[in-house]
């Protein structure tokens, strides 16, 4: 287990390094002048070159990168041009919201998706299966921002059950989580169905039935754990897309999370903020990947022992 963890962490390092280099390069080639951005729209002529020098933007590229990485490791992600506060504190203040949304979204995905998938597989071929899979396909095809707006309209405005945007209570989290999770729920439903069907036709399940175990027990004790295995793997691959979905949801609901911060940063060409948010989200993706790997290692002893 420990070796698995260290292995994964070591593998993550070049990935993160590469991400930082690529992001830095991308930003370097942005057409807008960061010094002007920092100086603000009304700075005098003399201010801009001075600021450029202060920010170190007149240094060669690799030196700039070196300085940036130095500061990153000491926890300083720079100063947002537009908002005039350190990027780190901006991120820290927004992270809880995004985390809440991520948890809410995953909760919805798994809570709706897995049981529906399982039930569909068990009731294979019957109307419940067909209906479930049809709805799932529809759910997967609907754009998340559209879903969000529709939910806002129906459940926030026409029938005012939920608040219209904003934060502050669990109720505020429901619509955004639903939006973030429904598409994924549909996807997980289909995955779960397929994975379950795989398991259902396995020999050991027939054995369990032959032994006289009740169906429900068979499902819970034998089918479910094994069916979840590949799901965990797929969940790991899903993370980059899920984060993208979170960005969209934060936009629709004006949710003050890191995703919306990233979008604002890109729109206003706020270089340190862009760097900070993109690197941060990439770190989340990588860490989630490691967590998923560990979870899988936990669930499947063969992986732990390096046999797979």
């Amino acid at each position: 287990m420990f070796t698995l963890l260290t292995r994964r962490l070591l593998q993550a390092i070049p990935v993160l390094f590469g991400i930082s280099v690529i992001t830095f390069l991308l930003i370097y080639y942005l057409p807008a002048d960061p010094a002007r951005m920092y100086a603000g729209p009304s700075a005098t002529v003399a201010t801009v070159p001075r600021i450029r020098h202060e920010l170190g933007l007149d240094l060669p590229l690799w030196e700039q990168y070196g300085r940036y990485m130095q500061r990153v490791f000491s926890g300083d992600l720079g100063f947002s041009y537009r908002k005039q506060i350190p990027v780190t504190s901006l991120l820290l203040s927004r992270i809880p919201y995004t985390l809440a949304l991520i948890c809410g979204g995953i909760f919805v995905e798994l809570l709706i998706g897995l049981p529906v998938g399982l039930a569909s597989a068990v009731a294979r071929g019957q109307w419940m299966d067909r209906l479930g899979m049809f709805i799932a396909l529809v759910g997967v095809s609907a754009p998340p921002f559209w879903l969000g707006l529709l939910l806002l309209y129906w459940l926030g405005y026409l029938i005012p059950i939920f608040p219209l945007g904003g934060t502050g209570s669990l109720r505020h989290l429901i619509l955004p989580s639903l939006t973030a999770g429904l598409g994924g729920a549909a996807w997980y439903a289909r995955m779960m169905r397929s994975s379950t069907l795989d398991i259902l036709s396995a020999d050991y399940i027939r054995t369990a039935h032959a032994k006289g175990l009740r169906n429900i027990l068979v499902i819970l004790r034998h089918v479910l754990p094994n069916a979840l295995n590949p799901i965990i793997t797929m969940a790991g691959l899903d993370i980059p897309w899920f984060i993208g979905g979170v960005v969209l949801v934060e936009r629709v609901f004006d949710w003050p999370g890191v995703g919306r911060l990233a979008v604002e940063a890109i729109e206003t060409v706020d270089v340190p903020l862009i760097l900070g948010t993109v690197i941060f989200t990439a770190i989340i993706v990588v860490i989630s990947g490691i967590v998923i790997d560990l979870a899988q290692g936990f669930a499947d002893p063969r992986i732990r022992q390096g046999k797979l």
Partner: protein, 544 residues
């Protein structure tokens, strides 16, 4: 005045219904006819879409942070409820020397900053010097370069500004290079609000987030990206003010959400005008009567034409653009919350020429002019707009208008700072000023010339987006600044602005409105909004 993030173009001035009950325009000091006297107490919440960038009076320059800055700071002078200058931190209006170049201010005694220290003349010297200091990066430095020795100080040839002197603890003297009738206005503008030296030095770059001033409120808490909370300053030098106990500014709230929160009573005021999509609904709803205050701001919104970028260096092309734009359509797209503009100055600005008709909507004439200029088959060009609703929508209307005369317009929707940057550096041939510019900084026609069309502002990064410099007009404008006969002076501005229109440096499109939606129990004294400050928080009160 330029705004970084005015969400909605629509800005209108009407007097509130309270004042209307009293009949006619409201006099500065009397309370509006028929209203009850202000009550002390209450907590008010106002919601804005855009985040507040800073509370540093030397830096802040948009409609979101200006009224907030006025909560925490004061200037030597201020306006009454209209456009008349009154003393504030100064005891009386300053005495002016015979030649009009020396202003002497006697300062009020016993005013304290919120850190307990008493305010004195050194603070005034420090504040204005700081605004001029290039290290501060203040966008308002240009207003004070007329002070003697300011340019030397900026250029580094001097370590202080010769023309600002503290004569004693309560007297400050300003010496100008030449007479300037707008100097009093400049001493009432946000940039002149007084800051304490020790606090600025202690906070450094963070002063904008930890402001200390003499004002009616103090900043209690700032949750980044979420809200700012201000509390009454119990030691405020104006007795009885402010009325409210606390004010919370929520940020990051989209206008349609803010409107719904207002309807539900969760907030008391919207910082942005109500969105166009809801306008029809609320104006026809009787529950909304008395709850929308219309403030016609002194604003012209225009398409700035870069006169140095071909083919716009050709006068006929610029004139053709003026004829090609359907301004009525823009008013319609804005739900009627604007009026068509035909000249540079807005109707409420002194010096406005009601007799001037300008260019009308005439696509045929536009085509003819283009043909004369040699562009019978049109050409391709681009415009930059901010990406905040409804500006992109308006730019698409321009796109269609120009397509009808053969011009292919590409629209670049960018964030406000990017547009301001590109426009300031001449990187785009056309700019739509919607959501950005230009609303007055003070009620003087020079404010619509010098900062945006004068030769001094034709610098990289300046607000003269037309990149226009007409030396004759510039010399004339300097002359006009020292004219003391007010009426003659205002008349003399008419030919100046007509010349600008003849040169077609802009396409003035509309004069905007600002609508303030508020709850029924929130009142102003006399109004919530103000022609110079937009919102006057200190005189707002809530009826219980």
């Amino acid at each position: 005045m330029n705004k970084k993030a005015l969400l909605n173009l629509s800005i209108v001035i009407l007097v509130t219904l309270l004042a209307a009950c009293g009949g006619g325009a409201v006099a500065p000091t009397e309370s509006a006819g028929g209203s009850t006297t202000p009550q002390k107490g209450g907590a008010m919440i106002i919601a804005y879409k855009d985040d507040l960038a800073t509370l540093d009076p030397a830096i802040g320059y948009d409609w979101t942070n200006w009224p907030a800055i006025k909560m925490v700071f004061d200037g030597l002078l201020d306006y009454d409820s209209g456009t008349t200058i009154t003393p504030r931190l100064a005891e009386t209006l300053p005495t002016v020397s015979a030649d009009g170049t020396v202003y002497t201010f006697k300062l009020r005694k016993g005013v304290k900053f919120s850190n307990g220290r008493e305010f004195n003349a050194d603070d005034v010297v420090y504040t204005i010097t700081r605004v001029l200091d290039p290290k501060t990066g203040s966008p308002g430095a240009g207003f004070f370069v007329g002070i003697k020795g300011a340019q030397d100080f900026i250029d580094g040839k001097a370590t202080s500004v010769e023309g600002i002197k503290a004569l004693d603890a309560n007297t400050v003297e300003f010496t100008l290079n030449s007479p300037d009738v707008t100097f009093l206005n400049k001493m009432a503008i946000n940039f002149s609000f007084i800051v304490p030296k020790e606090e600025v030095e202690k906070a450094g770059e963070n002063f904008g987030h930890a402001p200390v001033g003499t004002g009616p409120f103090t900043l209690k808490e700032w949750k980044s990206g979420e809200s700012l909370t201000f509390e009454r300053n119990p030691n405020y030098f104006y007795e009885g003010l402010p009325y409210l106990d606390s004010i919370t500014i929520q940020v990051g709230v989209a206008p349609d959400v803010a409107l719904l929160r207002l309807e539900k009573g969760e907030i008391q005021m919207m910082g942005d005008p109500p969105p166009g999509a809801d306008w029809a609904r609320i104006t026809s709803d009787s529950a909304w009567a008395n709850r929308i205050e219309k403030q016609p701001t002194v604003n012209t919104t225009y398409i700035a034409i870069n006169t140095t970028a071909p083919p716009f260096d050709n006068l006929k092309v610029r004139q053709a653009f003026n004829y090609a734009i359907d301004k009525q359509r823009i008013v319609q797209l804005l739900n009627g919350r604007a009026t068509v503009a035909n000249q540079i100055l807005p109707p409420l600005m002194p010096g406005y020429d009601p007799a001037y008709t300008g260019y009308g909507y005439d696509p045929e004439k536009a085509k003819a002019l283009l043909k004369e200029a040699g562009f019978e088959n049109g050409f391709e060009t681009s415009i930059e707009c901010i990406s905040v609703d409804p500006q992109p929508k308006l730019c698409e209307s321009f796109q269609q208008d120009l397509a009808k005369v053969g011009i292919k317009l590409t629209i670049n929707n960018l964030a406000a700072p990017n547009v301001i940057d590109d426009a300031g550096n001449g990187k785009t041939p056309l700019v739509w000023s919607g959501g950005l510019a230009w609303t007055q900084d003070y009620p003087d026609p020079d404010d619509f010339y010098a900062p945006i069309l004068g030769c001094d502002s034709n610098i990289p990064g300046g607000w003269n987006w037309s990149r226009y410099c007409n030396k004759d007009l510039h010399a004339k404008s300097i002359e006009l600044l020292s004219m003391t006969d007010r009426n003659a002076r205002l008349e003399a501005y008419k030919p100046l602005f007509k010349a600008l229109m003849d040169d077609a440096v802009w396409v003035p499109v509309i004069n905007g409105e600002y609508d303030v939606a508020h709850s029924a129990n929130l009142h102003g004294q006399p109004t919530l909004s103000h022609p110079e400050h937009l919102f006057i928080y200190e005189t707002m009160w809530m009826s219980q």
